[in-house]
């Protein structure tokens, strides 16, 4: 696995294994309003602005061309051939295992460990999307080297990049929670200071959970802005305290000034965990679920049971099994 698929293998995949029946419904509904893009040579998707009237014409194209990679737009257009008259776009979170700023493995590309960590991260994000933000139409796609969370919630589909980046900050935990609580107008009433871990609900809870995950997965060789080598060492030294959520003691061991640095650095890590430019892009193309990620010889598939999904069981094409 993780070897580039040959032309012959791609042919076998699209002619013998690929079936239009596997295309998720959220993709086939309104198929003709989406832009398709293809990479035929492995140099990036340069065959774009393609449109298919239905599943049949898509099937014929894939069988005949057996592309290196196939993509579909998150956007819906009245005129997808020219990307004209934009109507709405899915809202996407792209978490690529090979780009995770904190991961336990030492692999160069992706491996079982980082892929399962990427799944844990997207599962946490989906919990926040559903639990806090009440978003329901969520699809999770294994992309070959990571995961795409694809949201088709009507009220977010027509929103602009600004709203998307605000949601992203919340879901990723990319903003340090406010410290001060109290009246909005200056000079009236009193205000209180609370660290994020003292508030076990809402955004502070999301943030606390994200950075706890980060801290528990640190290896010690990470380079993180605002967190120097000594601080990183002390975080790791004291991280066992977080197993029982003893944040107050943990903070006192780190020291208040350095704790502030840690929190700022961790907010950046949280942002870097997601490819944010994919989330705010209204005209992006993403790998077509069911298509082959030829670079790693894995299938891009919809994840039905996100707690138990195993890409090595569900996303391995037949030709890979036969390679052995």
């Amino acid at each position: 696995m993780f070897k580039t698929a040959t032309l012959e293998e791609r042919r076998r995949y699209y002619r013998e294994e690929w079936s239009e029946k596997d295309l998720p419904k959220f993709i086939t509904d309104e198929l003709r309003m989406r832009e398709f893009g293809f990479d035929h040579l492995g140099h990036g998707p340069n065959d774009r602005y393609k449109v298919f009237k239905g599943k049949d014409s898509l099937r014929r194209f894939l069988r005949y061309k057996t592309p290196f990679a196939a993509y579909i737009s998150v956007a819906f257009y009245n005129n997808p051939r020219r990307r004209g008259d934009w109507l709405k776009s899915e809202y996407v979170f792209d978490v690529d295992a090979k780009d995770l700023p904190i991961r336990s493995c030492d692999c160069d590309g992706v491996c079982e460990i980082c892929l399962s960590e990427a799944l844990e991260i997207v599962n946490n994000m989906i919990d926040t999307l559903e639990g806090d933000l009440g978003i329901k139409k969520i699809h999770l796609i294994y992309s070959g080297r990571g995961y795409h969370i694809r949201i088709l919630d009507d009220e977010i589909m027509d929103s602009d990049s600004e709203l998307r980046s605000e949601i992203l900050k919340y879901v990723a935990g990319a903003e340090v929670p406010k410290l001060k609580y109290g009246n909005i107008s200056e000079g009236s009433g009193s205000s209180y200071n609370f660290e994020h871990f003292s508030i076990p609900i809402a955004y502070p809870k999301v943030f606390t959970k994200r950075i706890k995950y980060n801290i528990q997965h640190l290896k010690g060789n990470e380079e993180i802005d605002d967190i120097n080598k000594n601080l990183l060492k002390d975080i790791i030294k004291n991280r066992d305290l977080l197993d029982d959520d003893q944040w107050g003691i943990f903070r006192s061991k780190i020291g208040p000034r350095r704790y502030k640095n840690m929190v700022t650095g961790m907010a950046r890590v949280n942002l870097a965990t997601i490819d944010a430019k994919v989330s705010i892009d209204l005209k992006r193309i993403l790998r077509l679920p069911t298509s082959l990620h030829s670079k790693v010889s894995m299938k891009c598939v919809e994840v039905k049971d996100r707690e138990w999904f195993d890409p090595f069981k569900s996303a391995v094409p037949k030709f890979v099994e036969e390679r052995k």
């Binding site: 605000e166 109290g182 209180y192």
Partner: protein, 462 residues
């Protein structure tokens, strides 16, 4: 009980007041009732006649003046405008609110600085009026207005998505559960009561939510509704003839704002503690890494945003008004500093166009329409070239923050040591210039090495 329209002039009650008393013939007529209320306010400073609004039109202008003065004048005395917080003024205030809306929407632009000052001033007036109300009355009125603004019992955050998108409200400041914004105490305790181990949940409700989140939502909703109202009047105004009194009022508002902003903004004067914040030729050596990389050309993927959003706003502010973030709230247009657009056309645009050409593929080769976007980001509407007549149709974009660059254009963010101390490329530029001057390189000597096309003599503000 104070009238609802004291806080929300857009309420039905407010509309009724305008219907009954909003006579356009008397916009600038002396109004004895108004003068009486103002001069009999216990705190009001009445030594100076110019402080007393004599007509609805006058009150309209003073509302915005209050906001700018309050924000910028170090010796600001609230007693000069005490009447604004006297509930007896409600009717006159509602009428003046609707007059300003008409004046700005019909004669100016919804994106103009006048519109922004008006909307911001409205937000600030609400906040201060609420603070001055007795606690019980404040709670009651907030609940009553919120009930009018929000129809359902549980508000989904998506109901406020316009406010979130325009950053008036941050999602991270709200308490969200299953999509709902939790405002009610009982609801809060039901949902989260068992989450708090060391603290009493009702006490935590008071601290985390209490009245502050409700007031925040209320204030921001009224601000947003004011913006929408301006837009609505603008759409309707093309069909009706504008009353001369409204035209006169819009001129007076614009004039008053110009006078005040020039009084308080730094760009007319020179010097000050930060010498490097003065306007002057662009010093490329002081550009932050993200800008330096952009000038050299960006390859596809982020190319358009790097040129249109990042470089355009950076170069224009760096050249014309590097102190923008120091004078927050003092709004400027390009023509305030570059009245004939000489610098814009001869220095700023050539640099942006050159960077666009350096991109691979060159930006305008396959997307010539991006020139229009550049003009638009300078505030001159959707046209190929900036022209004074179109100024204000769009907003002069301030440079995006480092946080935003990291998100939109991560490939450009290659921070150096100086980056750690700043949050915006423009702040980097000002600091780098200051450091260069401190190290003995005067701005002039750097300028002489700098290859710039413009003629600084044309800039009468230098």
């Amino acid at each position: 009980m104070v009238l609802l329209s004291f806080i929300n002039p857009l309420s039905e009650e407010g509309q009724e007041i305008v219907k009954e008393k909003g006579d356009l013939e008397s916009v600038f007529s002396s109004n004895d009732e108004l003068i009486y209320i103002v001069t009999h306010d216990k705190r009001q400073n009445i030594d100076d006649d110019s402080l007393i609004p004599e007509s609805y039109g006058d009150l309209a202008i003073k509302r915005i003046q209050w906001y700018i003065e309050r924000k910028n004048n170090k010796d600001f005395n609230n007693d000069d405008y005490s009447y604004l917080f006297n509930e007896e003024i409600t009717e006159a205030d509602v009428i003046s609110f609707h007059l300003i809306s008409q004046a700005i929407a019909t004669k100016l632009n919804p994106n103009s600085r006048e519109a922004r000052f008006f909307v911001e001033s409205q937000g600030k007036i609400i906040e201060e009026r609420l603070v001055k109300l007795p606690e019980q009355e404040r709670k009651e009125i907030v609940n009553r207005i919120l009930n009018q603004l929000i129809f359902q019992e549980n508000i989904n955050w998506k109901f406020l998505k316009e406010l979130v998108a325009s950053k008036k409200i941050s999602l991270t400041d709200l308490v969200l559960d299953e999509g709902n914004i939790i405002l009610d105490k009982e609801d809060f305790i039901n949902r989260f009561g068992d989450k708090f181990k060391d603290r009493a949940p009702d006490r935590m409700y008071e601290i985390i939510i209490g009245d502050s989140i409700k007031e925040l939502i209320l204030t921001k909703m009224i601000m947003q509704n004011t913006e929408n109202y301006l837009q609505k009047i603008r759409e309707m105004s093309s069909k009706i003839e504008v009353h001369p009194a409204i035209s006169e009022l819009s001129e007076k508002i614009a004039q008053s704002i110009s006078e005040l902003t020039s009084k308080y903004s730094g760009f007319y004067g020179v010097g000050g503690s930060e010498g490097s914040m003065k306007i002057g030729k662009l010093i490329k050596e002081a550009f932050p890494p993200c800008i330096a990389t952009t000038v050299e050309g960006v390859s596809s993927g982020g190319r358009n945003d790097a040129i249109v959003l990042l470089l355009t706003s950076f170069v224009s502010y760096a050249r014309l008004y590097p102190a923008i973030f120091r004078n927050e709230g003092v709004d400027v247009k390009v023509s305030d500093i570059d009245p004939n657009l000489t610098i814009t056309l001869n220095e700023i645009l050539p640099l942006i166009y050159e960077a666009a050409d350096n991109c691979s593929p060159p930006l305008f080769d396959d997307q010539p329409q991006e020139k229009i976007n550049i003009t638009s980001k300078l505030g001159f509407g959707m046209y190929e070239n900036p022209e004074l007549d179109h100024e204000g149709e769009t907003t002069w974009y301030t440079p995006m923050s480092c946080e935003k660059i990291k998100m939109h254009l991560p490939q450009l963010c290659r921070p150096d040591k100086l980056c750690a101390k700043i949050g915006n490329p423009l702040s980097y530029y000002s600091r780098a210039k200051w450091l260069m001057e401190k190290e003995g390189k005067s701005a002039n000597s750097i300028n002489s090495n700098n290859n710039s096309n413009g003629d600084s003599k044309n800039n009468n503000n230098q």
